[in-house]
């Protein structure tokens, strides 16, 4: 089964509990203790995650409208519908993966830059770290609203700036790609601090001497970065990218507030699509099917990424 991220623990290999003699019954004292430790959490998970998923899986095979109590079995009808829905295939999924890819990549680059910026002692470092942290700490909903206001095509700051510079107004939220740009911009704005913080910790944990040797070896800034810093940070970067990518797949708040999936459903991502099917089109069966499809997709993608990350971290050792 899944094993621990090597880079996740604080650089210390986890130790094992003392072994008990083999003559022990299966549900020994150790096992009872373990189960007791996770019992309350387990109950919550079962009741509020596992049961709903089973419920949802059940619903996905039925014709289930929210206003119509009849729940007739229709088999894979919903799944087939969604998997052949051109909106889903050509807009929603590409949007979702594009958001994943762009948001993670840009946040990573920004995070690396900020980590280097913070990685020196200067007066006011605490203040700058606070400022950098803020986007991550406020609610994504608030962040999205802020950006929506900033990019308001008549009264926002950006509009004022464009006017001052001489460009005409851009109606950001009326077209697909400008809207998508704002969505990505907001997501990057929110998550770059997270990358920055973790990469900063990574930078601080790097040994000093190879860098001094590189100084003596006349390595310039860029060469030091590409040949020393990046390879040494590879495990940390891999774990960050993995976690953040999985998170990015299920983005909802930001898109909902900024565009609601519009204009004309062109910036919908997976979570929005599912939500709309269920609570706007009131088709619970189809919405559940969409939810399950998405879950399976991300589980598969995550599994693949996890393997790649594992290989990168081991090789980098």
């Amino acid at each position: 089964m899944a094993k621990t991220h090597p880079a996740v623990s604080n650089g210390v290999a986890p130790r094992t509990a003392p072994d008990q003699p083999n003559a022990e019954p299966r549900l020994g004292e150790k096992e009872r203790f373990m189960l007791l430790l996770i019992a309350p959490a387990g109950i919550v998970l079962v009741l509020f995650q596992i049961v709903p998923i089973i419920f949802g899986a059940n619903a996905s095979f039925r014709d289930w409208q929210l206003f119509n109590p009849a729940q007739t079995w229709v088999g894979l009808k919903h799944y087939l519908y969604i998997l052949s829905d051109s909106t889903f295939l050509t807009v929603v999924l590409p949007n979702t993966f594009l958001l994943m890819f762009l948001s993670v990549t840009l946040s990573l680059i920004g995070g690396l830059a900020l980590a280097h910026y913070l990685h020196r002692n200067f007066a006011g470092q605490w203040l700058m770290q606070t400022i950098i942290l803020l986007p991550q700490m406020i609610a994504p909903v608030i962040g999205a609203m802020m950006m929506r206001w900033v990019f308001n095509d008549q009264f926002g700051v950006v509009a004022a700036f464009l006017d001052w510079v001489g460009f005409g107004p851009i109606s950001w939220l009326a077209q697909r790609w400008p809207s998508f740009f704002i969505v990505i911009f907001t997501d990057v704005w929110i998550w770059t601090p997270w990358f920055a913080l973790i990469l900063l910790a990574g930078l601080r944990s790097l040994p000093r001497e190879p860098f001094e040797a590189a100084q003596i070896d006349a390595a310039g800034a860029w060469r030091t970065f590409t040949h020393l810093t990046l390879p040494m940070l590879r495990p940390v970067i891999a774990v960050c990218v993995l976690i953040r990518s999985i998170d990015a797949f299920r983005t909802f708040d930001v898109v909902w507030i900024l565009t609601g999936g519009g204009p004309a459903r062109s910036t919908e991502v997976f979570s929005i699509y599912t939500y709309i099917e269920t609570f706007v089109n009131l088709d619970f069966g189809r919405g559940s099917a969409a939810a399950i499809i998405g879950a399976l997709i991300i589980l598969a993608v995550a599994g693949a990424m996890y393997k790649v990350a594992g290989r990168v971290t081991d090789v980098s050792r």
């Binding site: 623990s9 373990m34 996770i38 998970l45 998923i53 419920f55 609610a139 609203m145 609570f279 998405g294």
Partner: protein, 284 residues
Amino acid sequence: MTALCTTRSDRPYCWTDALAPGGRRAFFWLATIAIVLLFLGPIVILVVTSLRPGWAVFYIYRGTDFTLQNYRDVLATEAVIHAFVNSFLVATLATIVSIGVTVSSGYMLSRFRGPIPRAWFGTIYVFRTVPYISWVLPLYLVCYHLGIYDTYAGILLPHIAVHICFFSWIMKGFFDGIDPSMEYAALVDGCTRWGAFLRVALPSAIPAIAALGILSWLYTWNEFLFALILTGHNTALITVTMAQFVTELGTAWNLMSAMAVMAMGPAIIITLFAQKYVVRGLRI
């Protein structure tokens, strides 16, 4: 030497050392200004907007009228007060309960090997990966049938479930870093496993628990999707109430921004005063 150029022994070689000193300083200031503009800018704009009277909101760069009327209006709205109280209650209760279950879950994952921990680890990992909407959606109907839709239980327990999945990692990572020898010594001395856990492991975990608590609280306070789906009028939360300001025709930006600034309050206070814990908790 100014504070910008500390002696090299204080920090490892930074790539900007390769630039000429003048260039390094210029670059640094440029970066600082860019960061302040980009990161603080939108927040400042929001605050300014909240201080402008309704009619002046659309000309916030010209004119100098500032007022606290927006805040008064917002605080006079019963729905808003209701939402703030609810959010506070839900966040606090969820955090208190979560801490209990998450700490023991993380401890178990750290200290034990075998099929049970592996199964638990797998379960948590799966539910950390699965999109929220995939299980919150059917949860909506489940709550409806159980009669806990739009009640505190109905919104608390899903949050606790997410806390467990997210924050067991942090606690596991933390316990991994604590030497288990102390607990073995306690066991040898006649302590039960529970005793060892409660009296030896937990006390050293207090900083991590503080970090955990702060992050859990903030996460629930800021959360939107669960609130949207699982709450109605009784347990309205601030994130949804704010969103309602926006989605209506003709957003009342001044009022909404006042509410948003207030909703940001805890986040800013925590960042200013509990940054150490936040930083520790955010590191995976």
